[in-house]
């Protein structure tokens, strides 16, 4: 499951059934609200998101395991804040200048980053990639001079082709190792021996992809009819708005 982080997980939960535009708006609202949240409100919001992820089919433990590298990064954020912020010493150890204020600020920053990551995870595991791409396209449409369809397609292709390029790189690495590249003492040679063929293969793949997309009529303006939001969508939007407001009030209080 950890390998499938940020990929769509089919399901029939209420979150899966919500309009993607509502979920995108909710992600935006949660991300902006997180900037103003205090410790208690942040803990509440994190717990709520973990519960919602569990409802969408991602148990809290699996979520945390899948996010382990991200959590490590957050731990580094907390440590660096604790060590670099001046204030009341946290421990009576002279060579470890960690401060209580630094720890608090670090925890707050890490909590906010985790909140945004969990909200993003909730969005991606409950939304079909195509629907997500279409919603991004819908959001970009009113912005002048932005080729909304191309931008949305690029996002989709990036997601699709990262694993392809990585497996091509792995294949090339194996082929180079079979020809004793590890014995080479020139790091630049090792780099170019992998980089140049990989770049050539990637461009070749891009060329073939262009032909295949053209063959399937890509290029024409896509007319997508968006259904208007239903009662459930509006109710969810209102609920998210109320929750954000309540969390802000709790932080102020």
């Amino acid at each position: 499951m950890a390998g499938l982080i940020f990929s769509f997980q089919p399901g029939a939960s209420p979150l899966h059934r919500l309009d993607v535009r509502v979920k995108l708006a909710a992600l935006l609202a949660v991300s902006l609200t997180s900037l103003q949240l205090g410790h208690a409100a942040l803990a509440l919001a994190l717990s709520a998101l973990l519960l919602l992820l569990a409802r969408a089919g991602w148990p809290p433990l699996s979520t945390l395991v899948a996010l382990r590298w991200y959590l490590l990064l957050l731990a580094i954020v907390v440590c660096s804040q604790a060590l670099t912020t001046a204030g009341e010493p946290l421990l009576p150890i002279s060579w470890l200048p960690a401060s209580r204020q630094g720890l608090e600020v670090g925890l707050l920053s890490a909590g906010r980053l985790l909140l945004v990551a969990l909200a993003g995870l909730l969005l991606t595991v409950t939304s079909r990639p195509a629907a997500l791409r279409a919603a991004v396209e819908w959001l970009l449409r009113p912005i002048p001079l932005v080729p909304h369809r191309q931008a949305a397609t690029m996002v989709g292709l990036l997601v699709r082709f990262i694993p392809v390029i990585l497996s091509q790189a792995a294949e090339l690495k194996e082929a180079l190792r079979a020809r004793a590249i590890e014995e080479s003492r020139r790091p630049l040679r090792r780099l170019t021996a992998l980089g140049l063929p990989l770049l050539r293969r990637t461009f070749l793949t891009a060329d073939r992809l262009t032909a295949a997309m053209e063959a399937r009529c890509y290029g024409a303006e896509l007319q997508r009819d968006w259904p208007s939001l239903g009662t459930r969508d509006w109710a969810a939007l209102a609920l998210v708005g109320c929750c954000c407001l309540a969390l802000l009030l709790l932080s102020l209080w």
């Binding site: 990929s7 769509f8 089919p10 079909r128 990639p129 195509a130 989709g156 292709l157 997601v159 699709r160 694993p163 392809v164 497996s167 070749l204 793949t205 073939r208 992809l209 032909a211 295949a212 997309m213 053209e214 063959a215 399937r216 009529c217 890509y218 290029g219 024409a220 896509l222 007319q223 009819d225």
Partner: protein, 251 residues
């Protein structure tokens, strides 16, 4: 056989670097035919196929689909002629199997209900309906090839063109893809298959077109043309060499 669905007349093509890839090709393919396009690497097979739906433009001559020139309406040409490329990995664009099959019908701006119905039917036809939500990256080589075929079928093409459909497949994979091609032909589709090894599919073809050096060097019933293939860099099936009839790989 029905009326000609593909008419190629005087088709020549030269790449921008000056290389002549096709010279004076004349072909008429009736609806419902199963054409095997054979030739060694570099014979011009893939270049010819790319002219059938306007991916390449002729230097001279023209290609007509059901009576109308390809260049007149590229959208119609690409819907009418579904093309399955040799490298399945670089033609799969969707993040999931379902999304990939829906790519073509969505581009045609078909209503959502029709898109869904066509995607479901195409996935059922190629036996991938249970994998609709999987990432294409996780499919096997044969499954990726079937997905590429489904992506084309969902667009309701009259002609299905397959460029080296058996490349890099094991025996089971070849049989699997071949059975789908044969079933599509039996269902009324016109099939054009390009190969450099004719043995796998010869028993099912109704016509064999042999290419060499960008020209059509032989064209006719498989039993008649097969004898000439080795002179143009294509391996003669062992059965013919032994004076036997070529058996189907599905038998």
């Amino acid at each position: 056989m029905g009326e000609d669905i593909i008419t190629i007349s005087g088709l020549s093509h030269r790449y921008p670097d000056g290389r002549q890839s096709l010279s004076q090709i004349d072909l008429r393919i009736p609806a419902g035919a199963f054409v095997l396009l054979a030739g060694a690497n570099g014979a011009g097979k893939s270049t010819l196929l790319k002219h059938l739906n306007g991916l390449l433009t002729p230097t001279s001559g023209e290609v007509r689909l059901a009576g109308r020139p390809v260049g007149e309406d590229l959208r119609r040409a690409r819907q009418l002629v579904g093309m399955v490329f040799q490298d399945a990995d670089s033609q799969i664009v969707g993040e999931t199997v379902y999304d990939d099959v829906a790519f073509g019908p969505e581009n045609l701006n078909w209503p959502a209900v029709k898109v869904e119905a066509n995607v479901t039917r195409a996935l059922e036809l190629v036996g991938l309906i249970g994998m609709a939500e999987r990432s294409p990256h996780l499919l096997s080589g044969g499954e990726k090839r079937r997905l590429a075929i489904a992506g084309v079928l969902a667009m309701e093409p009259a002609v299905i063109v397959l460029d080296e459909p058996f490349a890099n497949l094991d025996y089971a994979g070849v049989r699997d893809i071949l059975s789908h091609i044969v079933a599509l032909h039996a269902g009324g589709s016109t099939i054009v298959v390009s190969v450099h090894d004719i043995e796998k599919v010869l028993a099912h073809a109704t016509r064999l077109v042999l290419m060499a050096g960008g020209r059509v060097v032989a064209d006719g019933p498989p039993a008649v043309v097969a004898g000439e293939v080795e002179a143009h860099g294509v391996r003669l099936p062992t059965a013919i060499r032994l004076g036997l009839e070529v058996a189907s790989w599905l038998a």
